[in-house]
Point group: C2
Chain length 341, copies 2
């Protein structure tokens, strides 16, 4: 992508909800009592967040958020990453910012000074390793076009954004502003569909983004493709996506991934993992690898292989940020051999 415009300072800018994960072990009975659908993500208000937190067990805190996780993966691959998202000026906001700074991610967004606290996602882990997510968006509700730092967008080969940005009221305007700036600077714009419930909420708008060319590159898993085209037949969905998108990367769980580009289809196998411990973040990290490869002008198959590698690392441990250097892992698998330093 570096040929499309002046050399980019950042490989990828990710924009999304800045969230701290609150992880707690729970039993099945707790989900039943709370009426929660296992494996789902729901949005909750401040009062419900307080109540649920009081009801749940001892917790641990880790920085999260889909786009934040993707940026962390790009940094771990040795890429230059930037992130835009809204935290509050509180302990959790400092914690989130520290974790970005600590891996060298540029994070130009000012913290919210007054009002809602930093967003948190209460993640209930059942003994079968499934995760049920309850997100209180807090300060993320206040992300506006004013937070879109022009220098950062113009200096990034790709600007990648979450479908989840359609949930807070003003973030979709920020999304469109960022896309306009990126395109005006000759850069590319990518979107992840985030989750199938999110697609159900904003199907029409996501299709419009694709068909009108606001988005050049789309990331989706099989469930999200099915939801986008309201079809039970994955092949029908994939064919429709190939029509609508300039470039699409579709993850298929254990069946690997599929890259759709100009009528071409490239299939890449699933990551080779000894023990699958926690699927959270697999999609976020697939995007890290794919985007990093793309920003460095690698062939599409190699981009998807890097995506698989990064996803494989993340599902082999608890938590959605890399615990091992993805750069070292990629070098070990000879996926970075022909790369410019």
């Amino acid at each position: 992508m570096s040929n499309a415009a002046s050399r980019a300072r950042y490989d990828v800018l990710t924009i999304g909800n800045a969230i701290v994960d609150v992880l707690a072990q729970t039993d099945e009975a707790f989900l039943v009592r709370e009426g929660l659908a296992k494996g789902s993500m729901r949005l909750i208000e401040a009062q419900e967040a307080e109540r649920l937190y009081e009801a749940m067990g001892p917790a641990q805190l880790v920085s999260g958020g889909s786009a934040g996780n993707t940026a962390a993966g790009i940094a771990s691959l040795g890429g230059n990453a930037a992130f835009i998202g809204k935290v509050a000026e509180d302990d959790l906001g400092h914690f989130f910012r520290h974790d970005m700074n600590a891996v060298g991610i540029a994070f130009p967004t000012a913290a919210l000074q007054e009002g809602a606290p930093t967003a948190r996602c209460m993640i209930l882990i059942t003994p079968d390793s499934e995760r049920t997510m309850n997100t209180y968006l807090g300060a993320c509700q206040e992300l506006t076009p004013a937070d879109i730092d022009r220098d950062t967008v113009e200096g990034s080969a790709i600007t990648y954004m979450e479908g989840y940005l359609w949930d807070p009221p003003k973030a979709k305007e920020a999304f469109r502003a960022a896309a306009d700036m990126a395109h005006a600077a000759g850069r590319k714009v990518a979107l992840t569909l985030s989750d199938s419930f999110c697609v159900d909420r904003f199907r029409g708008e996501f299709l419009e983004l694709l068909r009108s060319g606001v988005v050049d590159i789309i990331f989706a898993n099989n469930h999200e493709v099915a939801a986008l085209y309201q079809t039970g037949d994955l092949e029908t969905g994939i064919a429709a996506l190939a029509e609508d998108a300039e470039l699409a990367a579709v993850t298929l769980g254990a069946k690997g991934s599929l890259v759709l580009s100009g009528g071409e289809r490239i299939a890449v196998p699933a990551p080779d993992v000894d023990e699958l411990l926690d699927k959270t973040g697999a999609g976020d990290l697939f995007a890290s690898g794919f985007l990093f490869g793309l920003a460095r002008d690698m062939p599409l198959a190699r981009c998807a292989e890097l995506g698989s590698l990064a996803a494989g690392e993340i599902i082999s441990h608890i938590g959605a940020r890399p615990q091992h250097s993805l750069k070292a892992l990629a070098e070990q698998h000879r996926l970075l051999g022909d790369m410019a330093a």
Copy 2:
């Protein structure tokens, strides 16, 4: 112990520094650059805490503190536990309190409303699983005799306190006040020596506590016994401790533990662990099991066996609070069979 006074509402009250652990992976080179002695615990001021936090990698937050961990272990065994310690009225303080409430630990101490933030311990984990600790005491500096809740002390079969309480300026007065209240109510007072550096700092005072009968029960590991009596010969130290203490529980790492009581010595084997992952909290959890047994009038050997069991659970995973029900584990090992419901 329930015969010594009126039936206790709490099996054990623990009093100590209320600390949130900030865990980050690091490499050996980082410790060298920072001039840190691997495996040690050092106290740092606010400014150094800020600087070190900025220099260290992405982190996770979990509630910790030696006495807090011990209380969590007692709760996990099915005991009634209480905790006294000072957090601030901030996010980390709420987080610490939540983790106490979530496992049913009574926590009557009011949060500090102004001044220092909640204490944190920055724990650097090297690839060999060793931990190097850097503690900023923050709000713990403000624990005073006014925080010693009389009802809670009088209602607890045993009041157990950290040697670490000698570090903040006013906590030792709180310690003495609590010991006086406990004894006046016919209850027992226990002390852990915390760590060998702590013993070096306060040797004279700890010996005086023992010899004057302020403390009835003492917990120490082999290094702390050696430091207390300034001897390289463990046997010499143990003999001296048997003289000074009414009841002592000495942990010896892989060699198990030794109970010293009225000239008698009881040896109990080390916990049987498949994989030792992280030694942090082993002493804290040994104390949980031993104290719980003692509060329920179990024989001393059984108390030490419960201590070993709890320590074994904690060293088989990362983190110093139980991840599995210690009650279920103890029942499985038939250590609770003869206990009154």
